[in-house]
Symmetry: C2
Subunit: 186 residues, 2 copies
DNA sequence: ATAGTATTGTAACGAACGTTAGATAGAGAG
DNA sequence: CTCTCTATCTAACGTTCGTTACAATACTAT
């Protein structure tokens, strides 16, 4: 009965430790201590340290991203992006840490080559996806691709502020900044 | 005679290692191996591992920032910021790695509490500094503070692209994006 | 109740870590 | 030539790391 619990608890604590100390700074012993279990328990549920780290990125992080994207409903385009960013303010602590860890790997500040390649693949999908969302609203804008690129760059910093630096970004400020970039569209 | 050389060589190699493997992933032994000197040499010039890391951030990184800022001459405001970002493309490999390491600490992905506080202090100076540069150009803009905030956020991602992700950003793209945010000013 | 499987624990392995004690080599001064 | 001081080395210390062999317990099905 405790299987699922224990496995999840280990992962939760691991997310915390990897976040604070990075991959190399995190020790299996410290994770076990915080989970309040013996050291080999972690090897019972995860093949090794790297396996534990990989599961957090490959499964938890990308599932979180998908969940986040699926919430998008297109009415007003500025409200769409404002909501997208603002929702991050209210992510659970666990999700925020998973997100933060994902960004850390995305910036190749942690993880290995294999995870970096996965991130690169994912990054390539970003521009086309936003182009799909925005193209109909940018008919009368000449440099539409540049606007989309700028928006993506802005979103990246806003996300980092909330998730990485752990700041609270007021919805009104988010809306202001997105409006400045998308000013004159639709 | 070789004193200055050896000390600098150790620091250069250390920057490389801290960049790739992070603080905890970097070992004094591997640094010594790449410098091609014995292990205690590093302790001859630096008090310990943390002292070596601290010198890179406290001295090298902040001196690089100051050097970068001092190059700014205000003629056209869009050209000013375009040049500021574009110059990063042509930073030496060493400076780029120092910059990258600084950003890593800035995002609290590495380093300790003490270095984080230094970064926080520095971050507080960013908005006022840009306000000083931009205020005269934003007389006829209503939400001037929001524009400055947006610009700072955009700059942050552009810098990260070049320095952290090690991409080359064409000058024209940089100018385009900055123009979109500063559109309508002056 | 018991056999068998799933879960957890104790204790240890070898390797690698940060750091230091102490020896050695080389150059300049007298 | 010898003394001194700086720069460098060899060798080791104690600690902690990831990982595993193996014993003990708890649960489940018969």
């Amino acid at each position: 009965m405790a299987e699922k619990d224990m496995r999840e608890r280990i992962k939760e604590v691991a997310v915390e430790h990897f976040n604070i100390n990075g991959y190399h700074g995190t020790t299996i012993r410290n994770i076990a201590k915080d989970v309040d279990c013996s050291l080999p328990m972690i090897y019972y549920y995860y093949h090794n340290k790297k396996d534990l780290f990989d599961e957090i990125i490959k499964k938890e992080f990308f599932e979180l991203l998908k969940r986040q994207v699926s919430l998008l409903r297109t009415d007003n385009i500025i409200e769409l992006y404002t909501k997208f960013v603002n929702d991050l303010n209210f992510l659970s602590d666990y999700d925020k840490k998973v997100y933060r860890l994902g960004i850390k790997v995305y910036l190749s500040f942690d993880g290995d080559e294999e995870l970096m390649e996965i991130m690169d693949e994912w990054e390539k999908t970003i521009l086309p996806r936003h182009y799909q969302i925005l193209k109909s609203h940018l008919k009368n804008v000449d440099n539409d691709i540049a606007v989309i690129r700028t928006l993506i760059h802005l979103l990246e910093t806003l996300i980092e502020s909330i998730v990485v630096k752990n700041r609270y970004l007021p919805e009104e400020e988010i809306r202001e900044e997105i409006s400045i970039v998308l000013r004159g569209c639709e």
